[in-house]
Amino acid sequence: MKRSTLITLKTLVWIGSLCPVADILWGAINNSLGPDPTAEIASVTGLTALWMLAITLAISPVRKLSPRLAWLIKFRRLIGLFVFFYATLHLLTYVALYAGFDLNVMKADITKRRFIIAGVITWTLLLPLALTSTNRAIRKLGGKNWNRLHMLIYPAAICAMIHYWWKVKTGVISPAPFTLVLFVLLMARPVWAWVERRRKARAVAV
């Protein structure tokens, strides 16, 4: 890929990724976030983090479809950091607008409420990934350790999905689409591994 194409595409990803937060800021300034602005902010930040997380998980199986898609990997870190950015905004929404910065409220929530526990665990799992996203951190850790550490994205994604299910009322099935996508993306990995093993075995047999 040409450098100029890459820069153009990265700029577009930046703009696209900033749209949800720009939308919230615009709405907050104009007081046009709808009837329940607090819930709207929580929902937009949470859902954006969730679906961007799905995108980062899609990159590695999708690029295996064709060698011509290898460049996709260049966008994973950027999108991954935006996942952390929105997850952090989501957490701050809780801290500021739901708990009102009240430590006792937060303590009670984090010990008693399972959907909040699942949410906090998700964010905690994402934190080391964001912190080790620099080239320097990769060099320092070494590729193997870095890869191993970044496997945390899988439990983080599952925790996020559980957080969503526990948040909605019994009987409401709005987390189903994300759950299905996540299932496919997680299953894609063993399936690809199996396909590759077979390919190799055939190559050896021939």
């Binding site: 907050a28 007081n31 976030l33 709808g34 009837p35 329940d36 602005p37 607090t38 819930a39 902010i41 607008l97 009102g100 409220v105 009670a108 929530d109 008693k112 409420r113 399972r114 959907f115 526990w166 948040k167 009322k169 019994t170 009987g171 409401v172 099935i173 709005s174």
Partner: protein, 328 residues
């Protein structure tokens, strides 16, 4: 000329939220300024003639109302727009904006309410007879959802007790069950968006149903209920979480045992039969100590939740001696 008469403007004059607001403020202001009151009425009429949006609320949606001592004062009303576009009415979809989009097909005429169970004889009331049975009152109530948001709504209706008295329930009638309209062809979202057993069922203990605050509700903001708010008739129980206030009622059943209720069937640990607003009993998934007032900017929404939603003076005695932590 109305000189010499109190300037009590019936809400049938009201055709929009803005007009309503003017009216409520005006009423207070004009207690001693009668002539100005007459002028204001004229101004309203004039405004109606020139503002097509006001005129668009056809006469048939207007209700003739009288004031009520049971109305809640000192609260800023939630806008008509928010009351009608932020709804939980799962038969029409689970998103708050869904009912406004999808409830258009609810057939509110002809409409009858069946009364059955432990009554002298089963009865069927036509909606138009119910509307004429007793004077319709303007009643502003706080509305607290179990999801920790709240509104202030100017309902129109009369005490459910007025209807119950005419039903002649037997002494063995200990509870009242309300069943909502359900037609899976009209309300296809009911099965698409959630796994719930329909029709929606709610219930009250007999004394709760007879409490004058429990409102048989036909309208809001001086006009008939929009479909998404439970047209053509619903109940409103202001000291309980919103889901206790069943919408679009087709059957009222007097029973001797506690009836099954929809959300209690779904998650008994989260939604009790009583479900009185109670800041001291948390929902398992969130605190009920505070609530978000709808329609305010994000930094101004949070407020303290009041015991019995602030209606303790009228209702607390019904629960004397009961452990409200157990009977949540």
């Amino acid at each position: 000329m109305v000189i010499g008469k109190p300037p009590d403007i019936p809400s049938s004059e009201i055709t929009s939220e803005s007009a309503y607001r003017q009216f409520m403020n005006r009423r207070r202001f004009l207690r001693s300024a009668v002539a100005a009151g007459a002028a204001a009425v004229a101004a309203d009429r004039l405004a109606e003639m020139f503002d097509p949006r006001k005129a668009a609320f056809a006469d048939e949606t207007k209700l003739n109302t009288v004031p009520s001592p049971l109305t809640t004062t000192g609260e800023q009303l939630t806008s008509f727009e928010d009351i009608t576009h932020y709804n939980n009415f799962y038969e029409f979809g689970v998103d708050k904006g869904d009912p406004a989009k999808n409830a258009g097909g609810l057939p509110t005429r002809p409409w009858t309410v069946k009364v059955e169970g432990k009554v002298a004889k089963p009865l069927t009331f036509d909606i138009d007879d119910l509307l004429k049975m007793h004077p319709l009152e303007d009643r502003v109530y706080r509305h607290r959802c179990v999801e920790a948001w709240s509104m202030v709504i100017p309902w129109v209706g009369y005490s459910l007790s007025e209807l119950i008295k005419r039903c002649d329930p037997m002494p063995s009638a200990k509870y009242v069950q309300f069943l909502s309209y359900y037609d899976r062809h009209v309300e296809k979202w009911a099965s698409e968006d959630a796994t719930i057993f329909w029709p929606y069922s709610e219930g009250l203990r007999m004394d709760e149903a007879m409490n004058p605050l429990t409102l048989l509700t036909f309208g809001l903001y001086g006009q008939t209920l929009p479909n998404q708010d439970g047209a053509p008739v619903r109940i409103v129980v202001p000291w309980k979480y919103g889901f206790k206030s069943a919408k679009s009622i087709v059957t009222i059943k007097f029973v001797d045992k506690m009836p099954h209720t929809t959300w209690n069937d779904q998650a008994p640990n989260e939604y009790g039969f009583y479900s009185n607003v109670n800041p001291n009993v948390d929902h398992p998934r969130w605190s009920q100590k505070t609530e978000r007032r709808i329609g305010l900017p994000f930094y101004a929404q949070r407020r303290t939740t009041l015991m019995f939603n602030g209606y303790g003076d009228q209702v607390a005695s019904m629960y004397a001696g009961m452990d409200l932590k157990k009977n949540y």
